[in-house]
Structure formats: C-alpha cells, structure tokens
Symmetry: C2
Subunit: 162 residues, 2 copies
Amino acid sequence: MRIGEVASRAGVSTRALRYYEEQGLLTSERTGGGQRVYPDSAVERVRLIQQLFAAGLPSRTVLRLMPCIETGQGSPEAFALMAAERERITALMTDLTAARDALDRMIDIANHPTPEHCPALREPAWSPYDGAAEAAGVDPQPVEAGPRAPELALAGAGRRTR
Amino acid sequence: MRIGEVASRAGVSTRALRYYEEQGLLTSERTGGGQRVYPDSAVERVRLIQQLFAAGLPSRTVLRLMPCIETGQGSPEAFALMAAERERITALMTDLTAARDALDRMIDIANHPTPEHCPALREPAWSPYDGAAEAAGVDPQPVEAGPRAPELALAGAGRRTR
DNA sequence: TTTGACGTTGACGCCGACGTCAGGTCCTAC
DNA sequence: GTAGGACCTGACGTCGGCGTCAACGTCAAA
C-alpha cells in the first residue's frame, strides 16, 4: 500500500503520515524509486496513534509506548506511563463534564428568561471556596452515539498548564 | 480587588487575566494610577472562562457567549453556539473513552505477557472496517474523585482538524 | 520619605501537529 | 513515449494561550 491509500483509509493526510515517520511512530519500506510502501497493519497503527493524540498524549509519549505496542511486552516504565496517562484522561473527563454542566446551566438560563438569572449560574460545581471536593461521578448519560460529522471526529485534547 | 488577588483566588496567572481583558472576556476599572480593580464576581467569571477553555472553546467563541453570560438573555445564535459546543464536548468525551479503552487494553496486555498479544490489541473499538457504529456509552466508572495534583487540574482540550 | 512589593505596557518566545507551498521525481495507463 | 496523477524532500507558516523578560510606575506601611 502506498501513502495515499493509507492516508485515505485511516482518515488522515499524507503530511501527517510523513510526520509520524519523522517522529519514529511509523515505519515504511521503500520502492526502488524511493516511494513509501506500508503493510496493511499500518492503517490500524495510524488509527491508534490518532486516538492517543486525540486524548492529548504528545508524540514523545506515544513514541515511548511504541516498543510495548510492537512487542506486547510492557517495561515497567511504559506501564507507569500508561497508568499516568490513563489517570490524566480520567481527570480530563471530569473537567469536561464540569464544563458541559456549566454550558447546560447557561443554556437553561438562556432558555427561560427570568430576571434572577445570575444566582443560578453561580450556584454549583465551580465553588467560590477553593476546595474542589465534589465527588462528581461521570454521569451515565447515553452519550447519543449518533452519526457524528466525520470532520469533527478527531478533536484533540492537550495543553498542560504551568 | 487588584489583579494579584484575583489571580491567586482563581488560580491563574496575572498574565492570563491581562490576556482575557485583551480578548474582551474580562473588564476592569482603573485606579487613578492606572492599576486594574476588579469586583468580587471577577473570580467566578475567570473560573468560568477557564472551564470553557479547558473544554476546548477558543476565546473567540467564549467572547460570543459573553453577552449571554452577562445579561442572561440568550440570543438565538448564542443558543446555537452553546448547543454546538455541548455536542462537541460530548463527542470529545466519546473519543476520550475510546482512547482510555485502548490504553486499558495495552495495560492489560502488558500485564500478563502472552505470545498471542497482537490480536487482542486489535480486537474491538477501532475497527478495521470503516464503520464506527459502536453504541459506546460512557461507562459509569466512579471516576475516582481523589485529590488531584492542583497543577494538573486545568488540562485543556482543543485542536480541531481540517 | 523611603522602600519594596505589586502593578503597568510592549514585545518576543514557545510548543506541537500538522498545512501549504515549491520544485522535482516516479509510475502507470493509454 | 508521454501525459498526468501520485509521490518525494525541504522549508516555512499557523494558531492560541499564555510564559517571560525589560524598563518603568504605584501604593501602603514603616
């Protein structure tokens, strides 16, 4: 398979694939003329990379997980890495839930206009006293797994502060 | 309240507050000497902004929501905006869940080393056949709301492709 | 009145996952 | 053999939310 086909099957650009190779995340054979040739498994590999990127893992981290992905053998550091990232993702989901709740409150207020709007906006979740001790479970909402627009499907998450 | 106090109470830098003002997200009075003075409500405002940022809303979008936040009156466009962002967040959470599941599979495999590792890694979720029709509900995991490191609390999510 | 913590504007830097040219090469169908 | 689509390398651009330095002004306590 050449680069174009891998790209269209995995839903990424050819530029992205060259970038992955540059970062050591993806390898390829070459034809006599120097063109990249990939095995079928490359498509799955790219999809995994995309998923990890979408969860905010930087390429360096994904790179450090690659030996584990390839061999199925987990070094203890790779293991710790995975656990840490897992926790980061969970924390991020908590943040997202909070943000979505904030939006919900805004939508709610915007929906039925009442003079006493502001208090309701302030009320829960982002408390004025610093403690962030809400035992907020990720609500078991059915997540409406409808047909999402494909170009929105690969939204990412990243940016650590400080 | 001056800028330093708002910053420490809201858990952001003073640079961030000046940036918010520059973007029109936050306003302030000035003392005779030109120093910024904020009302108490600014702290809550900043926290809301941070939450929306953490959910991947760009400052321009937050800006377009500001009149709605201030007046409690929802223009139809602001309403549509909020609904769209809400949906984007939900989709993002689905992606995060998928990524976390992928990590879980990797962890699982790394944990108990067996020669036939690769098939298990490939099996579910990121299917080789293009259809992404898993009716994947966000699992009702208790989310372990333990004491997260505060400097990790404001991880963000962004980056739309294409 | 002094001092030193806190504030101001302005400007440049950063990072990461690519987009996007430019100028050339390869491959294959006709 | 040739057209034209796919591919190559290299290089610079982008975007957003700040960090960070410089050079300077304010303000309250001692």
